[in-house]
Symmetry: C3
Subunit: 352 residues, 3 copies
C-alpha cells in the first residue's frame, strides 16, 4: 500500500468533521503523496527501501518480522479504509426550546456497544451512544435535562465542571434522591461558566461511568472573542474502561480521524472519563494549551504531549501548517500498540 | 432522609474548622434546605420523584437497586452524622519556645489507627497521629525538631520542600546516620521558604511513609500580603496506603467535612503522601490555583479538578459563593465509590 | 562511614560532568563535611546519636534494624564509590558533516545491558547504548539520520517533538514502510523547533522502546538568549521497563550523580520514555521550570517535585546555592526504596 493510495482512500471515505472538506487541498497533498519514494525523499532512503529483505529469524512473539508487519499494516489499512462499527458516540443533540428553555432528554439504557469491528461490550448508555450525545448550550441559557432511567440500577447525573445550584448537582442522598429504575428526574439550571465540561453518572459511578454513562457538556461563551480564534473543532473523550482504551467510545482502528485543511486552526477539547492518566501526543504539530477545565489560562503555553488526568478537560489550538497524516495517540505506549499492531487510544490528524 | 435533616445534623455535629461557625448562615441555608422538593425545584423533577417505583430485576452485583441504594444512603448518613473514630491526625502541635527557638518533639511509635469506623490498621505514627501533627512556623523562625524513635526499625525525617542545610536533610548514610530504635535525633534549621511543605520518613520510606510516618510542615510567610487573601484554610493530606484511600488519615464516611460560611474565601493546601496521583474534584465551585510546592505561581489559574502527584503540594482558593453540600473527591472513581457506596477519598465542602 | 569519607570518595571518583570540577569547593565543603557531629550540629543531636542502641526486636521483614540499615548503607556506599557497570547511555554522538548536513548513524541491535552491578537485561539498543546516543544539533541545521536495523523485527524511528515533514515522521504504514531486518532508512529534515526532544522506535513500540530503543534529540536554539542562563546541564531520561526503574539506563546505586560547583546554574532536561509518571523530587533546592516539551513557558514557575508523564520533556534551572549531597529521586516511593535500601530512580545532586 502506498501513502498515495492511503490518502486517496482517506479523502474519499472520510468527511465527517464539519468545516473540513477534504479533497480541496489536493495540490498541497501532492507533496504529501510522494512520501514513500518521491523526489523529496533522500536517495539513501529510496535505496534502502529497495534492499532485498534478509530472511529474519522468528522473533520472540513467535512471528516473523513480516508476519508482525502484516498485522500492523492491516490495522492501519483498516483505519484508513474506515472501520464500520454500529453506533457513534458524542453526536450533537438538538434541544427542544420551550419558553426560552433548552430542553434535552436523556434515556439511560443497557445496550450492546461495538467499540471495534466485531467487538461488543455490555454498555450502559445515554440515548444509545457511548459517549452520550453532546449537549451544547450558550452561556446564559436556561437548560433543562430530563433523565429517564431504564436501567436495573438507580442513577443520577452530575454536570461535571458546570456551576449549578446545589440541588442540581446530581449526588444521590446529598443533593437529590437517586433516580430509581423506571423513574425520571429533571435538572434545570442557568449555564453560567463557559467551557468544555462533562456530564456523567454520580451513582455507583466507578461502574456506571465505566459502562458508558458519560458525555460532553459544552457551554459556548456569549462573547467568543475571549477564546482564541479557530476554524474547526473536535472533542476527544478519553476512556479506559468499556472496551479498553478508547477515544470517543471506539478503539483503533475504529477511531475517527480528525481532519483539517492546511492553514486551518483546530480546537481540540480533551476530556478524560477514565481511571488513568493519558498523555496525548500529537505528531508533527505543537498544541497551544489555552484552557483548563473550561477556564481560560492567563498565559497559554505550547506542548506536544498533554497529560490529561481523570476528570480534567483541556482545550488546545493546533495550527495546521504541515500537510500529512499525523499520528495522534496516548503516549503510555501500552495504551496504543501491541505486537499485533496499534490499538486503543490511537487516531490521526489528517491535514490536506 | 431529607436534605433538611441532613444539614441540621451537619450543623449540630460539626464545628471543627476554625472560623467556620455553622448555623449562622441559616437564612441562606433556607434556600439549600428545600433542595429535595421545595419551590425552587422544577415541577417536572418533583413529579418524577413521586413516580411509583417499578420492581427492578436484581442487578449484576446480586443486589436489587433498592438494596444498593440503601448501602449508598447509609454511607452518606454516617458521614452526615459524623463517624466516631479513635484518633484524629494533622492536629496543630504547639512548639515550646526556648531562646527564640521553636521546639517540636516527635515520637515515632507503632499504634493501631482507626481509619474508618471499626476498621483498624497497624500504623507507625508521629505522636500517635496519622498524619502526624501539623508543624507550623513563620518564615525566619529557628526551628528545632527532636525525633525520638520508638519503632523496631531505624528511621529519619526529611522536611520535604523545606530548604535546610544539607546535614538536616534527613537521608540516612547521605546526610546523617539513621536514628536507631531507642535513639533520638535533633533537626535544627531556619525556616526560609514559606509555603505548604511536608515531613516524613526517608528511611525504608515506601513502608514507613506507607504506614503513617508523614505530616504537614507549614511555613507562614513573614509578609502575608504576597498570598491571596483568605478567611479560613484546610489541609488535605492525600494517601493511598494505610487504610487504603484516605484524606487526613481517614476514609469516607469517616473523613471530616470542610465547612465555610457563604462568602468566605477558603484556602486548601493539598499534599500527596501516597504512591498514586489523585485528581481532586470539587463540585460546584472553581478552585484558583496559586501555589505549587509552596512557591506562588506567577499567574494563578482556575480549575475544578486538580491533579496532585506524589510529593506535590498545591494551594488553591475557593470563593464560597454557592451554598450547599458540595461533594469533593478524587476523580479516579475507583478511589471514591464502589457498588457498596462512596468510600475512601471522598469528603464535602459545606457552605452555609 | 562518615559523610566526610563519603564526600572525599565522591570528589576523587566522580568528575564526569563537563564544567563540574570537583574538589575546588573544599573550603565550602568544609561546612558540609562536619554534617555528622561537627560544631554546627545541635548539641542535642550529638548527644542523641551517642545513645546506647537498645536491642530491637526483629522487625517484620525478618531483619533486625541493624541488618536493614547495613543493606541501606551498602547501597549508598556503592553509589558513592561509583558502581562499575558495562556501558553508558546517552553519550554525545558527533555527526559527520557533508555539504553542511549533519549526519548521524544509528544501528539497532540486540545487546546485553548492565543496568546495575551484575544485573543484565536483554536490550535492543541504538549503537549499543541505553538510552541511545545523544543527538544534538542547532536550530536551522539540516540533519540526516541513517538507521540500520540489525534486529529480528522491523522498526522505524520517530523524532518525538521535532517538527519534520510528514514523510520523515517514522510511523510504519502511515508515513513510511517499516525498516525490515537487515535494511536501513534515512531520515532527513531541517531542525526547526529548538528544545529537549527525543527519538525512539514507533513500531511495536511498547516492546521496542521498552527494550531500549530510545534517546535524546536536542536542538540548540540559534539565539541562546531566549533560554535562561546556565553553566552546566544534565539530561535525565526516566524509564520503567528495561531493568525496572532507571535514570539514563541505570538503576541506583549504578546511577550517575549530577555534580555542580557552588553558585553554578544547572539546567536539567527531564524526559520520560516509560509507561508511568515519575514526579521527580530534588532535595534542598527548588527547580525553576521554564520549558515544556521544548517550548519555553511564557512564565516560568518554581517547584521541588516535578511530575513528568510519559512522552513529556521538562527543562528546569537549579540555582546551586546550597553545598552538599542532595538526594534526587522519583517520589513514588516504591520506585525508589525497598526494605533492602534505595534502588531504581534515585541519584544525587552533589554541590561542592
Amino acid at each position: 500500500m502506498t501513502t498515495d493510495h492511503m490518502l486517496k482512500n482517506l479523502i474519499s471515505r472520510r468527511g465527517f468533521l464539519k468545516g473540513a472538506s477534504l479533497g480541496v487541498g489536493l495540490p498541497v497533498l501532492g507533496g504529501v503523496l510522494t512520501a514513500c519514494g518521491g523526489p523529496n525523499v533522500p536517495a539513501a532512503a529510496q535505496a534502502a527501501t529497495a534492499m532485498t529483505d534478509m530472511t529474519p529469524a522468528p522473533q520472540p512473539a513467535g512471528m516473523t518480522a513480516d508476519e508482525m508487519d502484516a498485522m500492523h499494516e492491516a490495522g492501519v489499512k483498516a483505519f484508513v479504509a474506515g472501520v464500520k462499527t454500529a453506533g457513534q458516540g458524542n453526536q450533537p443533540l438538538q434541544p427542544k426550546v420551550e419558553n426560552g428553555v433548552k430542553i434535552f432528554e436523556l434515556t439511560c439504557k443497557e445496550i450492546q456497544w461495538e467499540y471495534d469491528a466485531g467487538k461488543m461490550a455490555d454498555a450502559w448508555a445515554y440515548n444509545g451512544q457511548v459517549p452520550g450525545p453532546e449537549l451544547r448550550v450558550t452561556e446564559g441559557d436556561t437548560v433543562r435535562v430530563i433523565v429517564k432511567n431504564e436501567l436495573v440500577e438507580s442513577t443520577a447525573v452530575h454536570f461535571h465542571g458546570v456551576i449549578v445550584p446545589n440541588k442540581m448537582d446530581g449526588v444521590p442522598f446529598v443533593t437529590q434522591p437517586p433516580i430509581k429504575p423506571g423513574q425520571s428526574f429533571t435538572y434545570e439550571f442557568v449555564a453560567r461558566n463557559p467551557g468544555s465540561h462533562m456530564y456523567h453518572s454520580h451513582h455507583n459511578s466507578t461502574k456506571q461511568v465505566g459502562k458508558g454513562l458519560l458525555g460532553a457538556f459544552i457551554i459556548e461563551p456569549k462573547d467568543k472573542s475571549k477564546d482564541p480564534a479557530f476554524d474547526i473543532e473536535h472533542t476527544l473523550i478519553l476512556n479506559d474502561q468499556l472496551g479498553g482504551f478508547t477515544i470517543n467510545g471506539k478503539g483503533f482502528p475504529a477511531t475517527s480521524a480528525l481532519t483539517a485543511k492546511l492553514g486551518q486552526k483546530l480546537r481540540i477539547r480533551y476530556m478524560n472519563e477514565g481511571l488513568m492518566i493519558h498523555p496525548m501526543h500529537l505528531h508533527g504539530l505543537p498544541q497551544l494549551v489555552f484552557a483548563k477545565d473550561g477556564w481560560n489560562l492567563p498565559q497559554p503555553y505550547m506542548c506536544d504531549t498533554l497529560n490529561v488526568a481523570p476528570g480534567e478537560r483541556w482545550d488546545v489550538i493546533v495550527d495546521c501548517t504541515e500537510p500529512g497524516v499525523w499520528a495522534f495517540h496516548c503516549h503510555i505506549l501500552s495504551h496504543a500498540e501491541s505486537e499485533h499492531g496499534m490499538f486503543g487510544m490511537v487516531t490521526a490528524l489528517i491535514i490536506s
